[in-house]
Symmetry: C2
């Protein structure tokens, strides 16, 4: 971020809806684990959710989509609003102040970024392997964290993440969660691991497979030969019937 970009941002108050922000919990699936994309705030040992503000001339959902597209490099991301975080005190001010101080950025006491913000929570489901995070604005690093090994979090993001997970768990049977988190093809064990990591429970291989196949949404493709000394598993994909549905 250049000097002039910074100045423009600090003066962009009129461009955005005041006192409203968006926070996104980006879920990905890697190494059989559900993970969340976090950004490190420049100069602080603190991580935060990808987020941003809503331009006056954009729909809220468009703004959320824009924030995510910019940060993940993906298009047409699956998004779901799961909560709003509207307590009077959400620790935005102290975090922003220490951030500005650490980075030698001078802002007036009443600067718009130090005001109270109501945050709209969205969660996104992305194909981990296709994500190519970009560092924007005030972030100096990104990383994927396992849901139960989270680092030091900014603001009230430690309240936001559990609520997002809870909503995802609730939606697991209603929406086609796997469709958005997995790649084009996947093994039954991968699908099972996804369910297990989201629900936080172990499932039985035989019964899980029976159940999934009975839903009639999977199509068996070729086998996956990994070189392992055992029977090769089939690969599956979601069938066409599913692809034309809302997920």
């Amino acid at each position: 971020m250049t000097e002039s970009e910074l100045a423009a941002f600090l003066n962009s108050s009129n461009h955005y809806l005041p006192q409203i922000s968006i926070d996104c919990v980006v879920f990905g699936f890697h190494d059989n684990q559900l993970k969340i994309l976090l950004l490190k705030m420049k100069g602080l040992d603190v991580w935060s959710l990808p987020g941003g503000y809503i331009p006056q001339d954009e729909d809220v959902e468009t703004a959320a989509m824009g924030i995510l597209e910019e940060r993940t490099g993906l298009k047409e991301i699956y998004l779901e609003q799961f909560g709003i975080f509207g307590k009077k005190e959400r620790y935005t001010k102290p975090f922003m102040e220490s951030f500005f101080k650490k980075n030698n950025i001078q802002v007036p006491e009443n600067h718009w970024t130090l005001q109270r913000f109501v945050s709209i929570g969205y969660y996104a489901l992305v194909d981990f392997s296709k994500v190519n995070p970009t560092l924007v604005n005030f972030t100096e690093d990104f990383d994927w964290y396992e849901i139960n090994k989270l680092p030091n979090l900014a603001f009230d993001h430690d309240e936001i993440i559990p609520k997002a997970l809870q909503t995802l768990q609730l939606m697991l049977d209603h929406k086609l969660v796997g469709f958005n988190l997995l790649g084009e093809v996947f093994t039954m064990i991968e699908l099972q691991s996804l369910y297990e990591t989201i629900l936080g429970t172990k499932l039985r291989r035989n019964n899980f497979q029976r159940k999934m196949l009975s839903l009639g949404i999977l199509e068996r493709v070729e086998k996956l030969y990994t070189g392992a000394a055992n029977k090769a598993p089939y690969l599956y994909k979601f069938n066409d019937k599913v692809k034309n549905t809302e997920h």
Copy 2:
């Protein structure tokens, strides 16, 4: 609303979070039907959801609760956030303009109430028989409407209500919806009707009763003698185990 109250409201812009509003879908159960509380906008043949703004010094949820307590006369209302309505164009301006015009209220073109608003949707579950609606601000009437016999609605409230219903349907098996919508005691048929009107489907009496009793959340109280020429049904209440849980 007196002249001075009106003037105070029109000038209260600084008191509220700008460009954010709350809309509440209040569900009640009466005559075996799921109903929604709507308010008639003074001077217009248009009904709207109970709503309001968020004071700078209140949590969002507190504000939502306050709005509902004021309008329904109830305390400790069950509330759940179900969506946000953040399109650029939500028809707030034209509705507010025609409302002001009809009521001979002069406001400048750039008045805060005519700006774009992002609305936070909450739904409430209330005991119909305990509600005692109060007419506040710009409303001249209130009424309960069946979910599929709604009148002419203001703003984008015709988008908000279906989304609220959809969320309620989804929550029916997860949260104890009946606990908040029914009175202290109720018959099995009433509970069944509640499920039917929420889901929009017919259920079988015998199997519904078997299912509900197997959940172990109901306690059979006395019988209800209505004078009808048939076997009197039992009354039930939710048992103590349930009352100490979150609903």
